[in-house]
Amino acid sequence: MMSAFTLSRLRLTVQVIMLFFTVYGGAIVGHYLADKVTGALPALSCAFDQQNAGYCVLIPMQHQLHHRVGESIVRAQQFSVEYIIPFGFTMLTFFAFFVVLNKAFCGWICPLGTVQELAYKLGRRLKLGIRRLTQDTVGRVRPVKWAVLILLVLVLPLMAGLGYTSYVTGDAYCQVCPSRIVTTLLTANTEQIAVNTADTTAFLFSAARSAIFGFILILAFGMRQPYCRVCPMLALHAIFRKVVPLRLAKVDANDKCGKCKACYQACPMDIHEVAFEFGSKAFHADCTMCGRCVEFCPDDGVLSLKLGPVALFKSSGAYMKRRAKIDKPDGTLPKKKTSTQPAPAE
């Protein structure tokens, strides 16, 4: 029984359950916004999906900046603490959830993350090519998530509230988010993939959304977690990652480590620091707490997922050997052993 257990299998089970919950969970919790588990979920659970069980935190953040903060400044020509209190509560709610699971919301709960992982697994079954990013490319891509957070989630909604940009930019990030299409398509709703022809800005944003969705969907067959690398939720998580108890931990400098690079090969976000850095530096802002690096580390206790001082899961050579029979660090399926015995004569 124990030999069947792997962290990846546990995570896949959780991911599939959470995919159903975040996409169809409204059937359990109820139809109205007041019924939802939260309006500040640290995962891309889209409000355009009318059947979900909780809303992504990026939605109230944008709406509060657009309708509360920006609009109140325009109307009253003044700024009051009253107008930022809802924004503060949204962040507190987000933080309350975040404290429990940290960035594991990305690796275990986000519906878009799960769909990308399933696409990559399918790509391995179809024996499609694997595309990994070099350290240089990763370095160039990393700032994009911060630009998306600042520009699309914070600045443009506020500018819309102030009246400087189109109403469409009031939820600028939601306008281009591929999860809006993925989650609604899973409920057989094609409305969000349609291009909005009302005006130029709406057209450009909705066309970009559809194109990004198509690009990410195909890319996910050959590259692990392509959208997660530029996701503003990852950036939002990164801000708080060091002040919550659940984290990836690595021992301090170790002679054995940094040679096999299995953890780097296993990392779906191509985080090279996990192999070449030690201590807290190995827990990078892009980590989604999927635990694959810990699973594939052959050295006992070098890497671990920790909750405070408690190690929930530690690397071990024996576990790694068992784990490698399921797939390789990069997700490739192991070759089936062919029998060397001659076929019995008829």
Partner: protein, 287 residues
Amino acid sequence: MIKSIIRISALTLLMASSSALAQHAGHGAAPKGATAPTWTTFPMVLSAGGYSRSDAKYQAYNMHAMQAESYASFYGHNTKDLETATRPLTVDDNGGLTMEAGDQGGYYLVRVMGHGPNGEEATATTQKYFSNPGPAPRDLLNSARSGFEITPTILPREHSHYRENETWSFNVRMDGKPVEGLPVILETSNGSKFEYMTKADGTVDVTFPQDFKDIPKTQWRHGRPPRSKFVIAVRDGALLATYNDSYELDAYGDKDLLAGIGFAVLGMALAVPVVRRRKKTNGETSS
């Protein structure tokens, strides 16, 4: 890469600035002159504009000798709440009334009782949602109230609305009990009129007609035509009950699904060379 992002962002800002400062104009604007709607003679309670997150102003039309009440979405949770959840509203001589929600957000029903244009005993109901957090309106809609009324079985949740071509269910009840076999009339401000019949459980399914096509684009706002009004009316002898609200353009009325699929396919096509099996190149690995 970062420079490109900044350039694209600046371009987006420039393109978007056309709608500029007028963006919030018209949010809840009062109907000037407050003249009675000409598209129906049924009693209605229409928004009288004003912009507030704590109260809402209404104007009753096609009624006289009125009194009014509001019911909050925490109605029916327990008897302690019942008293505070039901509030009498003052109706002025012209049919104007204000409902105050204070800091209690969520859903409200506003019900005006009086006499209709033909002297019948009339009850006109509408709903209001305050975006501050509040309970779901399940109990509000299911609770038994006195009198003859028509109310929604389920309300569109926040950020969604009644739309063309959609079918929604309404309850017709007398003193909280369902009434079967009554004709129900739907009239819209776009000129449509349809008749339905209540079922054994007192519900009636109403389909909103596709009648936005004649609204000129000059009247559109935020890239969409303004919401149109509707009233649903049901008679039982000398009693008349109405429910009025607004509905929107069809989900695809301002969208192009084929174009959307086209852009998605374009995105897919751009990704194909990236994931195609290829030889190893400098610095990037593939299998």
